[in-house]
């Protein structure tokens, strides 16, 4: 059953008449709150995440409920946030380090990549690093070159980090809870443009396992693999394509590490065509990884070349027109998928 809007319903939730609808940001708060109640070792640090409740309301009410000890505002010191997180994790706590803007994870890159990701392995399993780094990426309304990045591929490149990119309120809650029960370093990478979107989120507890992509719309002719904010755009494009007689299957990866190869390969076997839509750049990105997996493991299933629809390779422009031109749009997805349908190998 194709679904029009992922934010008003969820493929994994049952659809009853009185479904509770909350935002993507509220779903995150609810997940964190439940886990903080459950596990006293969890604490939360970041800039503006205390009394103010976060730039995007992503920690709203946590400071008021859990107090200053467990929910602390930090100075503008991303490196210290991440480094303190590593040290606290080694000492037995379970920190949430909210960097807020994904762009500023760069300031903490050494701590995340050189320390957090390596220590379990290089200590031969003697230490573990239960640390969740939370950050939101993506462009919204001309956030410009320093506030629009989607760096998930950097992190997915690094052994020892798990990378989560939720696209719906339902997934945010289920995945953030799983992240906080996983005692590895986790990059929990949300999207600024999704925080205000609404969807059904059950009040009761549920977990979404890592490594299970969501086949969010089933189709026969072409597989569209996507993530984050591009999931909704891909679904909108699929609607449009349907009107033109093209049936697209849309797969939301949900986690990049671990990556659900099986879901991708299964779909390709059915459709024979692969499109990857990613708000990050194409070069060396997750789109390249997905294409490579299909090339290695299912090239004989492909009826046409692989297409990648990604943000064009420039810095993010402030200009409203240019900004929307650079990032994949529904129009571009429809056009490129339609073109692909005419091609054969």
């Amino acid at each position: 059953m194709p679904q029009k809007n992922i934010n008003s319903t969820s493929s994994t939730a049952s659809s009853t008449a009185d479904q509770r609808v909350i935002t993507y940001a509220q779903a995150g708060v609810e997940g964190v709150r439940e886990e903080m109640l459950r596990n006293p070792d969890i604490f939360y640090i970041g800039q503006g995440i205390g009394p103010r409740g976060g730039n995007f309301q992503q920690s709203r009410g946590l400071w008021q409920e859990f107090g200053q000890a467990r929910v602390r505002d930090t100075p503008i010191a991303e490196r210290a946030q991440a480094g303190f997180g590593v040290g606290a994790a080694l000492a037995g706590s379970h920190p949430i380090v909210d960097i807020v803007f994904m762009d500023f994870t760069l300031e903490a890159m050494g701590e995340i990549v050189q320390q957090a990701s390596t220590i379990h392995y290089i200590s031969n399993g003697r230490f573990k690093v239960p640390l969740m780094v939370r950050a939101a990426g993506g462009g919204i309304r001309s956030t410009g070159p320093h506030h629009s990045h989607t760096f998930w591929s950097f992190f997915a490149h690094i052994p020892g980090l798990k990378v989560v990119v939720p696209s719906t309120p339902y997934d945010v809650k289920g995945l953030i809870k799983t992240a906080l029960r996983d005692e590895n370093p986790i990059m929990f990478l949300e999207h600024k443009g999704l925080y205000g979107t609404k969807g059904h989120v059950p009040e009761e507890e549920y977990l979404i396992p890592f490594g299970e992509a969501n086949v969010i719309r089933s189709g026969e002719d072409v597989t569209v693999v996507t993530l984050g904010k591009m999931v909704q755009r891909s679904l909108d494009a699929a609607e449009e394509l349907q009107r033109n007689g093209i049936s697209a299957e849309v797969i939301d990866l949900r986690t990049l590490v671990p990556l659900d190869k099986e879901a991708i390969l299964k779909s390709i076997t059915k459709t024979g065509r692969l499109v990857v839509v990613d708000e990050a750049y194409a070069s060396c990105g997750i789109s390249a990884e997905v294409a490579a997996i299909v090339a290695f493991e299912a090239i004989d299933q492909l009826d046409a070349p692989v297409v990648r629809i990604c943000t064009l390779p420039t810095p993010h422009s402030f200009s409203p027109s240019t900004d929307s031109y650079l990032v994949p749009s529904v129009v571009r997805i429809v056009a490129e998928v339609s073109d692909l349908m005419k091609k054969k190998i």
Binding site: T74, A80, F84, G87, I122, S123, R126
Partner: protein
């Protein structure tokens, strides 16, 4: 900073014999461990490269003697001394330097990644100087868990000029974390004199900028280090927040075992600091103060020689990790 800053924080040697001998034992253990590691390195049997701590033993020994087993230490690239002083077994450390499976990190970490959760050793480190942040984070954890544990970060003069120093000290101070920041000022970062990269070479004076106590101590006087570290650790344990301690010291050898360490330092300078050997000083001072005898020290020397020989034999006889396990432990899983 003057290179003869002994007097001000000079110790009075009022401590009892037990402490003197314990500090002596630790320093000799570190010295002999390093000399043996250097020997094995130059024989060509040791993989990688090592940073030798000889000359600076009083800092690690003096500070760590004030710590409990469940306190934390985060260390540096020159970290063998810190590991041994915190209680990592010499044979486990030596094996790790050899990259063999019996090492404290199973041979995967090596010299710059010694880890031991049993004694709160949060790693030597290949990067300069994230140990500052890691120790502060461990301190934060202790504060949140409501324990009286303390964390110590060691770092060099070079490390003190890195941004992590500022971010770490500022935030640890703001949150009154139970952390002691120990700068080992040996005047050089690789071949670079501290005074060439630094306007204010008095590291301890920077503490004022963070609103915490800062003290400079003769890092070759183990009793002075022991005393000053004791005060800072006690303060941290009681909720009084962090302290910055600058230990003025010197490395006898090059930056790493392959660096002769002479092109950028005069022979006279090196000789002058060898004269101020921290081990010799404790020995002479204690004998003069009639706290211990030559025989006491000789007995320890003999004991340590055996420990080091045994550690080296153990490390040299141990096998490398099998390829079949090389992919283990990328991720933690509860089944482990």
């Amino acid at each position: 900073m003057k290179r003869s800053s002994t007097a001000k924080n000079g110790s009075k040697l009022k401590q009892d014999k037990k402490i003197v001998l314990a500090l002596y034992r630790k320093m000799v253990l570190i010295r002999e461990f390093e000399m043996k590691a250097k020997e094995i390195f130059h024989s060509g049997k040791m993989p990688g490269f090592i940073h030798i701590y000889v000359g600076e033993e009083a800092v690690a020994a003096g500070v760590c003697a004030q710590l409990h087993q469940d306190d934390y230490v985060a260390s540096t690239h020159r970290g063998h001394g810190h590991a041994l002083a915190k209680g990592v077994a010499p044979r486990d450390a030596m094996a790790e330097l050899m990259g063999v499976v019996t090492g404290c990190s199973g041979g995967r970490g090596g010299t710059m990644h010694l880890y031991d959760p049993e004694v709160g050793f949060l790693g030597s480190n290949g990067v300069v100087p994230p140990g500052i942040l890691i120790a502060a984070g461990a301190g934060l954890s202790a504060q949140l868990r409501g324990t009286s544990q303390v964390a110590v970060a060691f770092f060099g003069d070079g490390g003190s000029n890195n941004g992590a120093f500022h971010e770490g000290l500022n935030l640890a101070a703001a949150w009154d974390l139970p952390v002691v920041f120990v700068c080992e000022n040996n005047f050089y970062a690789t071949e670079m004199p501290f005074s060439e990269t630094t306007k204010n070479t008095n590291v301890a004076s920077r503490a004022k900028a963070y609103g915490i106590p800062g003290i400079q101590v003769d890092g070759n006087d183990v009793m002075a280090v022991y005393e000053k570290a004791g005060e800072a650790i006690q303060r941290a344990r009681e909720g009084g927040g962090p302290t910055l301690i600058e230990c003025v010291t010197y490395r006898w050898f090059g930056h790493h075992a392959g660096d002769p360490g002479v092109s950028y330092r005069t022979k006279e300078e090196v000789a002058e600091w060898k004269e101020r050997d921290p081990i010799g000083k404790l020995r002479n001072d204690s004998i003069a103060a009639r706290l211990a005898t030559e025989t006491d020290f000789q007995r320890i020397d003999e004991e340590i020689k055996d420990v080091i020989e045994e550690s080296a034999d153990f490390a040299l006889a141990s096998p490398l990790e099998a390829d079949s396990t090389a992919l283990d432990h990328v991720f933690y899983s509860p089944a482990e």
